[in-house]
Symmetry: C2
Amino acid sequence: MPASPSLSPSSAAPSTPGPVAATPAGLEPVQAEFIALFVAAAEVFGVPRSLGEIYGVIYASPRPLSFQDIVDRLAISKGSVSQGLRMLKSLGAIRTAYVPGDRRDHFEPETELRTLVGGLLRDRVNPHLEQGRHRLERVGAEIVAGKGLSKTEAAVLRARVQKLENWRRKGATLLPILTRVLS
Amino acid sequence: MPASPSLSPSSAAPSTPGPVAATPAGLEPVQAEFIALFVAAAEVFGVPRSLGEIYGVIYASPRPLSFQDIVDRLAISKGSVSQGLRMLKSLGAIRTAYVPGDRRDHFEPETELRTLVGGLLRDRVNPHLEQGRHRLERVGAEIVAGKGLSKTEAAVLRARVQKLENWRRKGATLLPILTRVLS
DNA sequence: CCTCTTGTTCATTTTTTTTTGAACAACTTA
DNA sequence: TAAGTTGTTCAAAAAAAAATGAACAAGAGG
């Protein structure tokens, strides 16, 4: 193993005062606080808690962390770290950094909000927007007065389909703008 | 427990000349398509599937639906419908409509996108933004060169806290604008 | 007071998601 | 080739979230 982490592993505090729950092995309070922040964010965005932890510990480190560093500082399994890192990479939330004298990959945070939000939107929202367009067309075509629907009822439903189409269009034009504003 | 849910056709209701047959699904294809749309949306926003179903069936109906109507058309329990309706009301996604000659509540969809998105943001994002501000202040104060942190390392971390603060501020100013743009 | 309808509550059950960890693959070095 | 690292995979376990349904409340009518 190369140089030891710059933040000392240290002491298991019996009980942690303050708002952050018990700090896992080898975690400074500052780091724990950072991590808590990203765990909360992970919850908001509906991604697994471990993603927040991993991104948090990377974000909280002034230098790139190796796989093993992350496993050591968070009390989670190698498997979770491996999968978490993969997801974070695919989201564009972290990137690998070269560290001289160490053949292992090291990770540092992507700090551009645009990149992060963009990655999430790309993965979660965009596919549905496209599929939604098709479904809306189909629904619009299927609404016909007749079998159980009076003429006015059909009109109400068609108006609602129109409303959905407006939503979809607005969303589709707003998302790119949003990610641009988050420069 | 394979208790077969009795498909009780609501023939007693005088104001309900329901065209919906007692098919296993109990749904017209058009309605099913609408519902699929909102189920997908529910997934995107990270709310329970049943919320999407319930909102969907209400949205797909040209006239307000009673509690019982919803239970009949979707194959989900009374309990789920009750809780789902409560959440939808608190999100501002549906409202109750008066139907003459029927003392039961009836529900119709709120079709303003602003209201829907606003409700979600209010419930999911806002609380965290506020709490995040406090945590950021605390983290900033805790970063001091010394115990394991060199001066430059502390500077890197302080810069990252600053970045987070920028994110937070941007988010806080953007959200209200966003909901306003979604008129 | 009794009964019927309408809907809510909440302890359980079911389903889905997330995490774990041991086996294993890919490399490096000797 | 052997032996040591480093990280990945994936079946199974654990945890979390959601749905169920029986008991119960609240009100209407009788």
